[in-house]
Symmetry: none
Subunit: 195 residues, 4 copies
């Protein structure tokens, strides 16, 4: 029973497991408390309410996510290489944590509009990283000048997200990281042969 982790983290990790295994709507506070090995009431010493658990979960996990991606792309010089690293790391990190993949791709989306807006706030950090890559690419001539950064970011994020979601919905049966190269190629070169 040695739980070195502070209760705050203990509870968030418990929430990920409970939500992944039971689904968003079956993830009662009491279940999370049980999984975390604390009393129901204890939850409320660390979180304002249930929504706060979920936002914190997202912040905590997404924070690590962004840190690792930034770490990874720091060493790359080209925007295209950075983009490759981002896709690769994104796929890799979610492949390594199946529970987290289910929670972020499927379950947390069932939350109401308010919660999703707050989750979007957290997501902005990630989207800023993408924006930076695109801007850098435009500046150094790798990417086309006329690109609309927001649209390009929506393509990149939308595609990655859709790809991961499809993979999760297929019960993670194939290797997500096998798709990195092809996704990157699509981003950089598009569909057309005419280029």
């Amino acid at each position: 029973m040695r739980q070195k982790k502070p209760k705050y983290i203990q509870i968030i990790d418990a929430a990920v497991i409970v939500i992944a295994e039971n689904g968003y709507h079956q993830a009662q506070v009491s279940k999370i408390a049980k999984q975390a090995g604390v009393a129901d009431g204890t939850i409320y010493l660390y979180f304002k309410n249930k929504e706060d658990i979920l936002v914190s979960l997202f912040q905590e996990k997404m924070g690590v996510f962004i840190e690792k991606i930034e770490e990874e792309i720091k060493s790359k010089k080209n925007a295209a290489d950075k983009l490759y690293s981002l896709i690769d790391k994104h796929f890799t990190l979610l492949s390594e944590d199946h529970h987290l993949a289910i929670v972020t791709q499927l379950e947390l989306r069932q939350s109401n509009k308010d919660l999703r807006l707050r989750i979007n706030e957290v997501l902005k950090g990630y989207l800023n990283v993408v924006d930076k890559i695109i801007s850098d690419g435009k500046e150094n001539g790798e990417f086309r000048e006329e690109l609309d950064v927001r649209l390009a970011r929506q393509m990149i994020f939308g595609t990655i997200d859709e790809t991961v979601t499809t993979w999760v919905m297929n019960d993670q049966k194939y290797r997500l990281t096998d798709q990195t190269k092809k996704v990157h190629d699509l981003f950089v070169n598009g569909l057309s042969t005419k280029n």
Copy 2:
């Protein structure tokens, strides 16, 4: 009070309005009935249960959606033109029905896994249209041979979906259709200048 529309359609239209204005979790059957101008019990003469209203709503609206898109692209010869029409029609149709846009992009996603799976079934019709365009493009040499159709489809759908969702979340403040050309350009030509 002249209601020419059959009750089935009346109720679905009412559901769209109620869900758009109140949110998925605040869309009680009694509210939908009131909006439709019928008694609560009447709902159950036309729908098996509440979930059935939502699935039917999606089928009905998405059915029209697909029909109109197919109609639109039928006249186009090039895959690239067809893709343009698809994006354009997708954006146009949702721009013309703000309520429906809110419902499909935000609210219906809060439904539970069962409902989402049934909604995905309906979506397949749309995704098949996209797949067809990509395959056709590969065959006639417009698109690259080595394209992975599923991935390309995920890019197209993921991007369009993300674009619309962002637009809805920004309260539909700008004109979605203004983005058609740029989205299409991204799909066809990618990010890179190197082409």
Copy 3:
């Protein structure tokens, strides 16, 4: 489709079948109407409300029941013989109509107090027949003078009823009429050897 029977009887017979096959709480008016081959609304041309169907059902069937029993015992001279005939006819009639047995022994008892009071009114005709047998028996010296007629009647009816109910609950697996003699013997001679 030749339905010679008047609708009134048609509906009562339908009610017996529907209740026996679906249970009291699953015997909706619409089901009875369907079984009777009439529209829901038609029921209300012949019966005041649902309760009226059930009371009428009981009156109609119990009326025949009493008539047949009275017919049967008319020819008997002894009270003991009359009692035997009554038991025998009671068992026989219910054995011959399994649906009716289920309805009267199990299903109709689930009705509310009001309905049961009205059913008891109908039952009085039957109980009067029993009372008459007992009184006659006392008068002609067959039965003991000191008998409390009401109690004796409660014994006879309670025992017969319990016996039939047990038989119905055991899915009518054995022959009810095989018990006539032993039940009669119990009534007449009691448990004791001392007599």
Copy 4:
């Protein structure tokens, strides 16, 4: 507000009162909770669902019932005396708790087949006591050898039950215990003078 009784008992007692005073179909969970002085939700900390309240009620009360009867007849040597005690105690216990009498004789019988089957399970304990008395009586020569135990039990239980029900339906206007002797006499000696 000193409520020494555990909540479980508190709720069952409340259920007896509410059902007796309002009838089975008007005994809403919220009414029972109010009568018990607890919140609606508290009910579900002690009972799985509404049916569970009713089955538990029957088990709890019938358990006491059987215990007291067994206690009472233990000291009697004769089967006839035991039978007398059983009738007497049965009548006495229900006379002392008018609410319980209404609930067991009238209201609980309106429950659906499932619940009634579960109630019958509980009843078996009582019926076994009766069977034992009859068997003992046969063995020691008090009762006739040729008696069918099941039939004799059906007579005893059916008669007692019918007697109590009639008494309850007559609003418990007369003293039930006044009938003990006569009922016992009927059981032992039967109707006939010929003995």
